[in-house]
Symmetry: C2
Subunit: 407 residues, 2 copies
């Protein structure tokens, strides 16, 4: 597996575009990704009961093959009733007619403000423009990335090239947006995490289960605020352009895809609204996988843990408080807690009490927490299951951004 | 029912004290509430799996009658292993010997930093001092209130006098502390919400179920950050000093107790760490009581909803996002959402879409949200169950307080 400098158009047969439709005042706000041949699509949608119009439309109408996905930012087309559904359908049909394909082969994703109707005049114009500007290459990748962004501050893309067991070289690339309202829990038949993954590998319907598992271990383990969006959607498009044998069960391919998706999950957390630090939580020795995941998410979503890490406040008791509320099984006497940051790795607990009490030792915890990346390792000693997740600190800027979002 | 200006020593036969033991640098940090005759005790404890030493000790050792409760702030005696358990037991035995009662009749509550051992030299001194200074009256009430506080900024007490059906006049008073790590979910056999409720009414063991229901509708519906503490404890002490018949099923008594507990729950939310606004959420028309409660807590605990209300940002879509993640059942087309603040009552949703789209109308939502108390009413139109809960906004000060707590 080789990491490459590339975006969604790096795999063969994919093109992209990003344009300014006018929904936003200045920046690019509408994009499109296109495959020269219909690509087998594996799509995960939000499990929030309030689903945005584009999610409802894709879930009910889409074919298992997609030629293109239209993506707009600035308006989530969520909480827009029947008119929203019509608007999402119109976005598909306009794109289909521009690209001369069946509307069923067009996916649609929206992100932005909830509860406002789309300005379809601008959106129609944007779709036509994007369809005419489709290109492959770094410039097209960058335009699409910008068109998808809301409060994002960094471009979230990752790409690799990998040699399969039959010798075929295939590429995988992913592009995602997402900064707030991030706690995707997408299910395959899947967050406003929008994510497009492209590959020129050959995949069949049988890959759906593996894709679900990869999403559960990557995107679904990233959280910024525990608030799952109404719009989360993650689409893997496999157009088979690289040829060779089917990659469904090729361990090299699965590993490479997992690597790309893990990169994206970490970037979502790093770029969480207002975030200054990445928090990785590893839970080991859980009785069940579900326990391990609940413990990871319980710790990552605790506002008290998040704000302590922002301030490098060595208040490790809050980690145990969050663990205790997570619903996972453990015996407090057996739990081992370790905090890592920079070159430091500090063991905290032994037999249900801190291993140290001296203020000087507590200072070591502060030093470990005073790093851009803080890792919390919890060994529950209750079984053999484990999980890893990614979140970020809770900062003044998170509050500022979200107290002023609609305005 | 008559509201009175009183504290925990207002009901007959109760005394209190608050002293400076030295655990904190300056303020009062250790208190005691005492009943002249052993009082029937109904105690709810945190359901966090990581339970502080005083909680573990009370749950395993206490009698159904209590003569006194010792309460310290500055150190939670949580995550302190076997040594913590011994320290909690010592607190009981020291108080018992000072008051000349059985240690089983002494309750113990702690709040403060997690994961540090108690300085028992100071605590012993404080308990002896408090036992000697027990008094009835407003000064004693105020000392105990101060000794319990951590990041609290207001005194949380409420008292009423009520005439029972047999003519007996009884009093009920409650005192609570709690500002952060507030999302009690205490169960009766039952958060760091510490709460002491005193009454001179006569109650029997049969009242335990009613007490549990009242806690579920009051304290357990208050949330600041969704983080349930390791120490939450709420004790009702009934010493029967008013005489008269048993008040277990007296509707006047139950209403009065519910009123006092609702007052306390609202105060916990108003005084949430960094809070500038009280948020009340009412969910009506739920299929089940559990659905109604989940919906209320889902909305109150969403950082996006909380920060929008801080900024009076009319981003009502976030309320629906939080509702959709709460797990409660509804049909989006049927849901009615109303936001109230000050004199304004603004209907938001109709048939799954906002009733207005004009920027001028959205301004009305902002005006409603720009009040010290904001009420969100959600009618699910799915059944007949309802629930009400109280929370607060997420502010810069919440982040500041919790990024610097241990230091």
């Amino acid at each position: 597996m080789e990491k490459v400098d590339g975006g969604v158009t790096f795999p063969q047969g994919f093109k992209a575009a990003g344009v300014h439709s006018g929904v936003k005042y200045r920046s690019l706000d509408l994009g499109m990704v296109y495959s020269e041949v219909p690509a087998r699509a594996f799509v995960g949608y939000t499990t929030n009961k309030v689903k945005a119009a584009p999610v409802q439309v894709m879930m009910s109408e889409n074919s298992e093959f997609l030629s293109a996905i239209v993506i707009n930012s600035g308006n989530a087309n969520a909480l827009t009733g029947r008119r929203g559904i019509e608007d999402a359908k119109t976005m598909k049909s306009v794109a289909a007619s521009e690209l001369n394909v069946d509307p069923k082969e067009i996916g649609v994703m929206s992100t932005g403000l909830i509860g406002r109707f789309m300005d379809m005049h601008k959106v129609r114009y944007g779709i036509s423009k994007a369809a005419r500007e489709l290109e492959a290459g770094r410039e097209a990748d960058a335009s699409l990335a910008e068109a998808m962004m809301t409060t994002d501050t960094i471009k979230k893309e990752s790409a690799v090239r990998v040699r399969l067991s039959d010798g075929t070289i295939v590429s995988i690339a992913a592009l995602s947006k997402g900064s707030g309202m991030i706690a995707p829990h997408m299910k395959v038949v899947f967050g406003t995490t929008l994510c497009v993954v492209t590959t020129d590998a050959v995949l069949t319907e049988k890959f759906r289960k593996t894709w679900g598992e990869i999403l559960d271990d990557t995107m679904n383990m990233a959280t910024v605020d525990g608030d799952q969006s109404t719009n989360d959607t993650c689409a893997l498009l496999a157009n088979g352009k690289a040829g060779g044998k089917c990659a469904d069960e090729d361990p090299e391919f699965v590993d490479a895809l997992k690597k790309v998706m893990t990169d994206i999950a970490r970037m979502l957390a790093i770029d969480g609204e207002g975030a200054t630090k990445l928090i990785e939580v590893q839970v080991l020795g859980a009785e069940t996988k579900e326990d391990a995941r609940s413990a990871v998410m319980g710790i990552l979503n605790s506002p008290l843990v998040k704000s302590a890490i922002f301030g490098a406040d060595p208040n490790y008791g809050r980690i145990m408080m969050a663990l205790g509320n997570s619903g996972c099984k453990f015996n407090i006497e057996d739990v081992r807690l370790t905090i890592k940051g920079g070159d430091m790795e500090v063991p905290i607990l032994d037999s249900g009490a801190p291993v140290f009490q001296e203020e000087r030792s507590v200072e070591v915890v502060r030093m470990a927490m005073d790093n851009k990346e803080v890792t919390i390792i919890v060994d529950l000693a209750a079984g053999n299951e484990c999980a890893t997740g990614w979140g970020c600190d809770l900062t003044y800027d998170y509050v500022r951004i979200n107290a002023e979002y609609a305005t």
